[in-house]
Amino acid sequence: MIAALALAAGIVVGLVFRPTVPIWLEPYLPIAVVAALDAVFGGVRARLDGIFDAKVFVVSFISNVVVAALIVFMGDKLGVGAQLSTAVVVVLGIRIFGNAAAIRRHVFRA
């Protein structure tokens, strides 16, 4: 509940204040967002499974974001930034889909 409200509040704040993305953050922000979304979907699924742990959620959220950004950073340094970003997005996308499927089974019983 708090998470949903905070998410909505964050979106509203972002829309209202219209900040610009700093240049150094530009390549990492999309990946970080996807990684955080993965963590959120995992958290929702764990909640529905009844095994949610706040500490695990917080740690996984932060580590997801940091690791995703690090991978993109490394890829940029190695000259395979585009490919590695795609790889990260694909993997995270698969995980999000898996979690979404589990959530769906919980919600719709199907």
Partner: protein, 255 residues
């Protein structure tokens, strides 16, 4: 967002880091609040980031999302395009200079031609003329002056360098003829009667000297019982003009 203390078994095909398998101890109330606050902050940050990213993605130009390699390619393309355009500019500027140069030459040639035409018009008698000269009055009470005498006046003026001459109402040119009509004199078919008024443009002193030379036209006129008075003027204006002669048989020979 309280955590439920379930049995903690790992469900199959979980595969997510968030799903923990260890038994969860019931946290204290303060800890639960802290966790909730932390989760709220994190999800709020996520929402904020989503909004920012979506906005940046939709508003920014396509370049900001491209990677270094693509940008280098685009930059190379732009540089090549810029070089091409600069080359075009140089070529066009050269053309412009060439056209301007030829325009200047054309204008100069036109001006020269106009000056030539004006000078020729004055000499041919097709244009009015003005300048220093003399106004000559010839009286002939006895009607003794013949066409030859009057022609002598014109010849004397020509000899003294007159550039434009008007005899009575007639502009004198190269083809002017003095003829005798009855006991009067006609210039180019226009019958004149004394006193005759003659205007000539050249150095006034030279013209005066030429007309009054001993044994010259002035003396001849006085011998015939008339008189010839020369009036030197700073500005003589000759308004009589002739039609431009159009050669019927002669045409300019190629150089």
């Amino acid at each position: 967002m309280a955590s439920k203390n379930e049995d903690g078994t790992t469900p199959p095909d979980v595969g997510t880091a968030e799903v923990t398998s260890r038994p969860v101890r019931r946290p204290r109330l303060a800890q639960r609040y802290r966790a909730a606050a932390l989760i709220g902050v994190l999800t709020a940050a996520l929402g904020f980031a989503i909004a920012v990213q979506v906005r940046a993605n939709s508003q920014s130009d396509s370049l900001s999302n491209l990677r270094e390699d693509d940008l280098i390619g685009i930059l190379d393309n732009q540089n090549a395009r810029g070089d091409r355009l600069r080359q075009q500019i140089a070529e066009l500027e050269q053309t412009l200079r060439r056209l301007e140069g030829s325009g200047d030459r054309n204008a100069a040639a036109k001006q020269q031609a106009e000056q030539d035409a004006a000078a020729l018009g004055v000499l041919l008698g097709t244009l009015p003329a003005t300048g220093p000269g003399v106004a000559v009055t010839i009286t002939d009470p006895d009607h003794k002056l013949t066409a030859e005498d009057l022609l002598d006046v014109v010849e004397e003026l020509r000899g003294a360098g007159a550039e434009a001459i008007q005899f009575g109402p007639v502009r004198i040119s190269t083809s002017t003829a003095f003829t005798t009509v009855g006991d009067a004199v006609a210039v180019d078919g226009t019958v004149l009667s004394a006193p005759y008024r003659v205007f000539a443009i050249a150095d006034p002193k030279t013209l005066d000297t030429a007309l009054n030379i001993p044994g010259g036209v002035a003396a001849a006129t006085r011998a015939a019982g008339g008189d010839l008075v020369v009036d030197q003027q700073d500005t003589v204006t000759i308004t009589a003009i002739r039609a431009l002669p159009s050669p019927k048989y002669a045409s300019p020979a190629p150089h």
